[in-house]
Symmetry: C2
Subunit: 66 residues, 2 copies
Amino acid sequence: MKNRLKVLRAERDWTQADLAERLDVSRQTINAIEKGKFDPSLPLAFKAARLFELAIEDIFQDEETT
Amino acid sequence: MKNRLKVLRAERDWTQADLAERLDVSRQTINAIEKGKFDPSLPLAFKAARLFELAIEDIFQDEETT
DNA sequence: ACAAAAAGTAAAACGAACTTTACATATAGT
DNA sequence: ACTATATGTAAAGTTCGTTTTACTTTTTGT
């Protein structure tokens, strides 16, 4: 699962810690998601979508063919 | 987290087992998600969106105010 | 009413999502 | 070069998503 969090942060000049705070998760969680270590839960994806005022699909991209 | 899985199944005349098979999860997982026992993972939400050719937001609805 | 299929439920087990604490490395400003 | 801020990483622990097995209840068809 790819995501555009780093770019969306950059556009707003937010640090990982800033984003973490706004999403109510730990900084390590943001880091891990950005680095692709794991996928966010669906509720967290919704929260990010609300924060950035984007569709989930515009932030997170599935990379499945099947 | 609410979802429209039951309706989407009904429109296609699929049982929970049918949907489970198409999404590659167990029937109990579908049942639990439909009954609101837990939220699907983001990858599973994407899979459902692809299957139904809908946006994730058109299948699953967050019910958060904060 | 009966049988078959579908839906609901529950417990045990496992991996994934997330936390806290802690430290290491990188980047930027003076 | 020094300091502060930002990012990366790791271990241990908790909760959540999912599976398997198995049983009960509801719905549907004849």
